[in-house]
Symmetry: C2
Subunit: 249 residues, 2 copies
């Protein structure tokens, strides 16, 4: 098997609501090609889509004020988290672990102030990150004539382990999972329960190549051509374990 | 920032108990250098260390027989799982999610039959994977004069998400976590709660470069020099969230 490379795209400007993200990416990465996996931190996608809230416009409700008092946080911030959360999975001092409407389990329902731009602004997750990934892929195809797979990512904490890993929240054109069911190992023994979360591993590889404090939200991962398809495929939704199957919600 | 590459090491022979793994790796990867991160699937480490059990030697106890009846599994296999588990975290049909003595939460306490070699053999996790990583690093230094960081990996399932990701279970010479506490984002705002699980992301990147059914248990990840140190560091133990802190055990 050949090598995998992850290379950040340099020179992207600050992204603002309404910006043409595909155009910015195509201009900054003229060597993008079919078979590449373009990993994009969700923040620039969310910003381009206008998924930004100005705290000065937020009126906290009773529940947000109650949680804010318990956690020592800004009640307006918690109001935004509550609006984004389908459920609060666990509370710990200073953080709410939430299930988002998409089914992602993460701190503060993905609502984040870091790298949100000047002022008191929060960045939300895209409304439908798989749709965002498909739209970005289609726009790249229309604009630059190439259709790399697109993975939109966020850094999520994990149960049982310290530290965050970059994770796929929107996918188009990459098999989210490589399912080995039915294949055999090197001794000819059937492999069971081996389903590799390719899209999450690609997100993680991309994260290693960029610095969170620099303006490098996009990374090209090359060498995954065998998992890239012309069809957009099932998206990151296929990575969500349904609540009924999950033992930890 | 420059690119990250992940390149599998070709041509490793089947590893057997007592084999000199460092010698095999040094011979197969003559271009290894300081600053590289050598990711090795735990199975070859466990095999070299003799952490292999022949099912014909296992006498299942009452609890193993009881679980085997409930889950439709081989009671000898479950006896081995129970011996490796510090606790059973959750049960679901066909799989036990266990906490190992090292603190790792994974299916079947990391006991695995796939790629275990011919016959009825199971491969266990190394007794102390951080010590295994340090020993492998020291042996590479002694034998080849280079001391790449070493990451021993296994593929673990996750709460809330489908599919497995390759995960660091033993680390020497790589910062397991890059803690951004105290740094600022691109707007100058303090970054809070950003601690990137570098070793897990490196394990994931390495996994993309190899095929589980081929004989490519080792992958060189290059481009992480800023996280590699001459000292072995705290190891993968730093990635384990203590039970008292965890909300999902």
């Amino acid at each position: 098997m050949s090598a995998i490379t992850a290379t950040p795209i340099p020179g992207l400007p600050e992204v603002r609501p309404g910006d043409d993200l595909a155009g910015l990416l195509a201009a900054a990465a003229p060597d993008l090609r079919d078979g590449d996996v373009l990993c994009v931190a969700h923040k620039v996608v969310s910003k381009a889509e206008g998924r930004v809230v100005d705290l000065r416009d937020v009126e906290p409700g009773a529940r947000a004020r109650e949680l804010a008092a318990a956690h020592g946080k800004d009640p307006r911030h918690l109001e935004v988290v509550l609006r984004e959360a389908a459920a609060i999975v666990r509370e710990r001092p200073g953080v709410l672990i939430c299930r988002t409407r998409h089914g992602y389990v993460c701190a503060n329902a993905g609502v984040d102030a870091s790298n949100a731009g000047a002022g008191e602004r929060l960045v939300l997750l895209p409304l439908d990150p798989d749709a965002s990934a498909r739209a970005l892929r289609a726009a790249l195809r229309a604009r630059a004539g190439v259709a790399p797979a697109v993975v939109i990512t966020d850094s999520f904490g994990r149960a049982w382990r310290r530290g965050q890993c970059e994770t796929a929240i929107g996918v188009a054109g990459l098999a989210p999972i490589d399912d080995w069911d039915g294949r055999v190992d090197s001794d000819g023994r059937p492999l069971r329960a081996t389903a590799i979360a390719i899209a999450d591993e690609a997100a993680a590889a991309a994260d290693l190549a960029r610095a969170k404090d620099s303006r490098e939200p996009a990374v090209v991962v090359r060498g995954l051509e065998r998992h890239v398809s012309a069809q957009d495929g099932p998206g990151a939704a296929a990575l969500v374990r349904p609540v009924a199957e999950d033992l930890f919600i």
